[in-house]
């Protein structure tokens, strides 16, 4: 059973290595990557089943007992996210096969995509703060290359901002980890949870938690730290934008949820209120930014930010219902944002541009494409019966239950504005008459349709049959709000009881 935790890291690594062996054969690389990602998906599904049946799984690959060795842990949230990462990997690889030009493939597009998947899965599965940093760097390195690959001017300019701000976030994260080690004497997350449980109320720990909030906030795209995102996400090829949009900010959100449900729960009055306020501001600024843009991908980039606000809202509430709603919303958000970015690629190809005023008449020319856009777009805005409606309903109910009426009102307003932003794309690109300049409409590629149709079907299915996914999210939320389960899975029985953390204040002296 424990090998299921290691396989999500080994499969992409092996696939990437095999791709390097087939360096000049684009078709072979493509099929290798589809097969690799599909194998990852099967493993991830098996992992999710195992976690569902047996509770949280943990393993120590180096055979050093926790908290000394390298720990891999999968609770339901991690397992769900690994499944989604693998699914996006499969679909985006298929989409890449039709859309990525041979020049980019010749420079190793496919192997780097696999390394990106490995980094993302590693970040979801690690049980150690420093390893989280290392997986972040693996993921970032791959994303830097994917973003800059091709070397167009816009890409390079976007990449500079992306690289600089993400490196700054990494440095802050590294500093915070070092200080945390100096303060507590461990970096294993479960061990940190035990040692900080019942620790005396300390300003130092709160300060450290804020350092983590800033560094993960930059990676997640929280207000006011998100400016790298809309400056870079619209520059690379559409397949790259789509996988970034679906997964990378969610890694930041996942880290925030992990750290602020497991480790920094001493002063929730302070830290989680800040998170709640930031989440409201993130939603609001994201959607207002989207309304001000005139290009499809720029609008969608700002809507990602708005989605991040919704995803951390449940964390700010810090109730079981809130966390469950956040998990559900993250599942929905990954599917829907990836779908919309993939569709924007098809729109660009069929309509001949990205600016709204140059697009038009897509509904008349490609009714199927219009339908495939409409489903995830309505879902993102939160219209029933799609998955976004259930997610937002759950978040609103959690907010009302804990008496946070302001955030509930903000969420409702933001939902309406999201609908407005997406309606603008609809009315300009699909509904409006096609503009005069109608030079050489490119062909509609059927291969790109499969990934988009899968994602659109998923958002409808999750909306109509929300029961199983909601139960899953609820169990995940329950695990997140009871850290003792996590601690017991990693450190074994007997250590989960709160101990008086005498070592916390003085630092460690071995």
């Amino acid at each position: 059973m424990k090998f299921l935790l290691v396989l999500p890291l080994l499969i992409p690594l092996t696939t990437a290595a095999l791709c390097l062996l087939a360096w000049r054969r684009a078709r072979v690389q493509l099929w290798l990557c589809v097969a690799g990602a599909a194998a990852l998906l099967v493993t991830a599904a098996a992992l999710l089943m195992a976690v569902w049946q047996n509770g949280i799984l943990a393993t120590q690959p180096g055979n050093w007992p926790a908290p000394f060795g390298i720990t891999l842990v999968a609770d339901l949230l991690s397992a769900i996210l690994v499944v989604l990462a693998a699914l996006m990997g499969v679909l985006v690889t298929i989409y890449s096969g039709a859309t990525i030009d041979s020049r980019r493939i010749a420079f190793g597009y496919y192997p780097i995509l696999q390394i990106l998947l490995m980094g993302v899965c590693g970040a979801f599965l690690t049980g150690d703060i420093f390893n989280l940093y290392v997986w972040f760097e693996v993921m970032l390195m791959a994303s830097f290359v994917l973003l800059a690959l091709g070397g167009e001017r816009a890409q390079l300019e976007g990449a500079i901002k992306y690289v600089t701000l993400n490196l700054l976030a990494s440095t802050l994260f590294l500093s915070a980890s070092g200080l945390l080690y100096a303060l507590v004497g461990t970096l294993n997350m479960a061990d940190l949870a035990v040692k900080l449980q019942g620790a005396p109320h300390s300003g130092l720990i709160t300060t450290l938690s804020m350092l983590f909030l800033v560094s993960f906030g930059i990676k997640a795209g929280l207000f006011p730290l998100f400016f790298w995102l809309p400056a870079s996400y619209h520059t690379p090829p559409f397949a790259v934008s789509a996988i970034f949009a679906g997964l990378l900010t969610k890694v930041g959100v996942y880290s925030l949820i992990r750290v602020f449900t497991l480790i920094f729960v001493g002063d929730t009055e302070y830290s989680h209120t800040i998170i709640l306020v930031l989440s409201a501001l993130t939603m609001l600024s994201g959607v207002l930014g989207a309304l001000a843009q005139n290009e499809v991908r720029r609008i969608l980039s700002f809507l990602i930010i708005s989605g991040v606000g919704f995803s951390v809202m449940g964390l700010g509430l810090l109730t079981e219902a809130g966390l469950a709603a956040s998990v559900f919303y993250i599942i929905h958000s990954i599917i829907v944002t990836t779908a919309l970015f993939l569709i924007s690629g098809v729109m660009r190809r069929c309509g001949g541009g990205e600016e709204l005023r140059k697009l038009g008449g897509l509904y008349a020319a490609y009714p199927l494409l219009a339908l495939l856009f409409l489903l995830p777009a309505l879902s993102m805005a939160g219209i029933p019966p799609f998955s976004g409606f259930i997610g937002k309903l759950a978040l609103l109910r959690a907010a009302l239950e804990s008496g946070q009426y302001t955030i509930a009102a903000v969420a409702l307003v933001v939902s309406v504005l999201t609908l407005l932003a997406l309606t603008r794309i609809w009315s300009e690109a699909f509904w409006k008459e096609a503009p005069e300049i109608d030079e050489s409409k490119l062909a509609f590629q059927p291969q790109t349709l499969f990934p988009i149709a899968t994602l659109a079907a998923l958002t409808v299915l999750i909306g109509l049959g929300a029961g199983p996914v909601w139960t899953l999210s609820q169990r995940a939320g329950e695990q997140l709000s009871n850290p003792s389960q996590y601690v017991r899975a990693v450190l074994g029985d007997g250590k989960a009881e709160p101990k008086v953390a005498a070592t916390v204040a003085g630092g460690q002296t071995p």
Binding site: A148, V163, A182
Partner: protein, 115 residues
């Protein structure tokens, strides 16, 4: 010694951030390098400076005796140095390509993708 290093690290952070906010891309990369090293030095110092006491366990013993240097932060710093070096090399290449494509080393000339 810790106090002196604390001020040095603070100075390095300030310097790194200041350089990153300049317009020149050369200063940007120097700033990034300084910032990464400031973080490494921070980890090294915050774990406590112990001089001349290696964490070795004697032949007949089962645990270390007396206060010894903690090897873990040094391992962390080593990992961070390697990662930092690779990232810096990538950034240098990226900035060189950007310089060649844009034809300027000024970040204010690279605003086409901003919103």
């Amino acid at each position: 010694m810790e106090t002196v290093l604390a001020f040095a690290i603070g100075g390095l952070y300030a310097l790194g951030l200041y350089l990153m906010m300049r317009r020149s891309i050369v200063k940007l990369i120097i700033g990034l390098a300084i910032l990464a090293n400031a973080a490494n030095l921070l980890i090294f110092t915050s774990a406590g400076l112990t001089r001349g006491r290696t964490p070795m366990i004697g032949a007949q013993e089962t645990a270390v005796r007396g206060p010894v240097a903690d090897p873990l932060p040094q391992a962390l710093v080593l990992t961070a140095i390697v990662i930092g070096f690779a990232v810096l090399a990538f950034t240098a290449v990226l900035l060189k390509r950007a310089y060649q494509t844009v034809g300027a080393d000024d970040l204010d000339e690279m605003k086409a993708t901003d919103t």
